[in-house]
Symmetry: C2
Subunit: 334 residues, 2 copies
């Protein structure tokens, strides 16, 4: 393999001069520069990124920490991050945290030692200490959904409370009178906000019952269990708002198994807008987040900060949209 | 940030001695070693992985090149790779190639410059030249499915021909008499092999018609288009073997829209065994690959080669399994 020494010898200059040409961060005589560039080409020399990482403290690598790449929401997000990163000549490390704090901390520790330039954090916990440590290592940070109190980081989020309100209002407008909520994990801010939107819309209505909120763990199997429990104890439920599409798909499966027809007996609405919501029969009404846009925006924002182009940390709130499909339907008022 | 110089000063030794202790690749006096280790602890020094990468030519990073992380087959594979890598203290870079050769080549070029230790190649084209270049850069390689002729790399694959035969034999055993095939892209070896298994089983039977093979591009929308075309020109098709589950899910959707009932009128079988096959109604019969095991085996094999533990490149063929669900059903012989 050609080394920087070979290039220096070929060009008749010192290694330091070649390095200055490659890094472009100090003055080199024009003639000398063209001799070095020619030597680089002749010798087919590839300036090594690891070595440049040491010099410039930049490696062209960012990391994205997410709960689980198998969750279609996060695989779409990851795709958007990687597409955007590639466009800007960055490579992407991905890490599955399963929303477990010890795994997240371990990743942060390992990644600090690898001179990554920045991190997109789409997982659960990230405390002030982590943020300070990363700042100390010069690692830029963009977080999804969560807003650390004093962190010097940009935040990308979508309007969860508003979206949940839209979903429940949609079910009400169709004539649903007993609307249940399948909720995500209590420790996740997205789950909290969607539950909040449900409660804000429905709490003051006659017949509201907190027992209509059941946990579904943001998973298909959780949605199955939640719908089974709901219909067993509240057979007159006529609308369900699930906190994500995976739980809605699970609920649909459970309702089908129990012989409850959707949308005739129960109208069902999810949240996220992943492809799976179009694979079910009937297809699922959902509150769609602009998932790809969230990932692309996060990556753009991060790379901008790494390159020093973005001055201030910012908060971006993206709009969500109700997508009506066959799992919700206007019903005859009883 | 503490540097190796600070540690050397604290321990009263040279920087070279600290480096020898950290890398553990040459003799250091026991007393000196414990003084250095103590200094590392006292000073809270983190040996930098990039710097170590320069010295040892190892960075603890591997890359996985796959067509699209949003395809559930590849997101499960990627999850398995990352779980296994994390267990062995490696981080994982992922790259979406969309099965396009220029993108693949660009990734290979960029990754060579970043001192990755190894690569899992789950995308389409990889030629002898690429393999030689990577070998020249000391990058170990494990490929999925494809078998480069003289490449010094391990191969993980599953039994595609055998699996396709099992699928078509299953449809025949149920009484299907006109079995169509929705095929993946012709340039992909997995698609070729599954079509081969279909042809081997059915070519010699009465009424076989090559027009019953239609392209579905390994995608949901491709499956929709393929099923529409099939039923338009061959309304008496009573069995469909789709080359992957996404196309099977698309076909199911199209059949439903056309008012063709599955499995009563058409029995439908996919390939892969992804979660989406359980989300449809009816659930899809499929030939399941051990996807997670494929990813985990690829990562283990790669890391073994990086660490010099595995001597010879090897070929691993994993078994597939027919999973019978409601989309196939015994029919009355006509």
């Amino acid at each position: 393999m050609t080394t920087i020494r070979d290039v220096a010898r070929q060009a008749g200059v010192s290694v330091a001069t070649v390095s200055r040409v490659i890094n472009g961060n100090s003055y080199v005589n024009k003639d000398t520069e063209s001799r070095v560039r020619e030597a680089i080409q002749v010798m087919d020399y590839e300036p090594n990124t690891v070595a440049r990482g040491l010099a410039s403290k930049k490696t062209g690598t960012i990391a994205v920490i997410l709960p689980d790449i198998m969750n279609p929401f996060f695989s779409e997000l990851a795709r958007a991050v990687e597409d955007t990163a590639r466009h800007h000549k960055f490579t992407v490390i991905f890490c599955n945290s399963d929303d477990q704090a010890p795994k997240e901390k371990l990743y942060i520790q390992v990644l600090q030692q690898r001179y990554i330039d920045g991190m997109i954090f789409a997982s659960n916990t990230l405390d002030e200490e982590d943020i300070q440590t990363m700042r100390g290592h010069g690692i830029s940070l963009v977080v999804l959904d969560r807003a650390p109190r004093r962190g010097n980081c940009s935040i990308i989020r979508s309007k969860n409370v508003e979206g949940a309100k839209t979903a429940v209002q949609h079910l009400l407008s169709l004539g649903c009178r007993k609307i249940a909520h399948i909720a995500g994990p209590e420790e996740l801010i997205t789950a909290q906000e969607r539950k909040q939107g449900y409660l804000d819309t429905i709490r003051h209505l006659k017949g509201f019952d907190p027992a209509l909120i059941v946990p579904g763990h943001f998973s298909i199997s959780g949605g199955i269990g939640a719908a089974q429990a709901l219909l067993e104890y509240h057979p007159d439920v006529d609308g369900i708002f699930a906190g994500n599409d995976l739980m809605a798909a699970g609920a649909l499966k459970a309702l089908h198994r129990m012989g409850v027809s959707v949308p005739e007996q129960v109208s069902l609405c999810g949240f996220d807008g992943v492809a799976i919501a179009e694979m079910t029969e009937p297809e699922l009404t959902t509150v769609a987040q602009p998932i790809y846009e969230m990932g692309a925006t996060a990556a753009k924002r991060l790379i901008g900060r790494i390159r020093g182009e973005t001055e201030e940390p910012s908060v971006t709130e993206l709009d969500v949209q109700l997508v009506e499909r066959d799992s919700t339907k206007r019903r005859v008022r009883r």
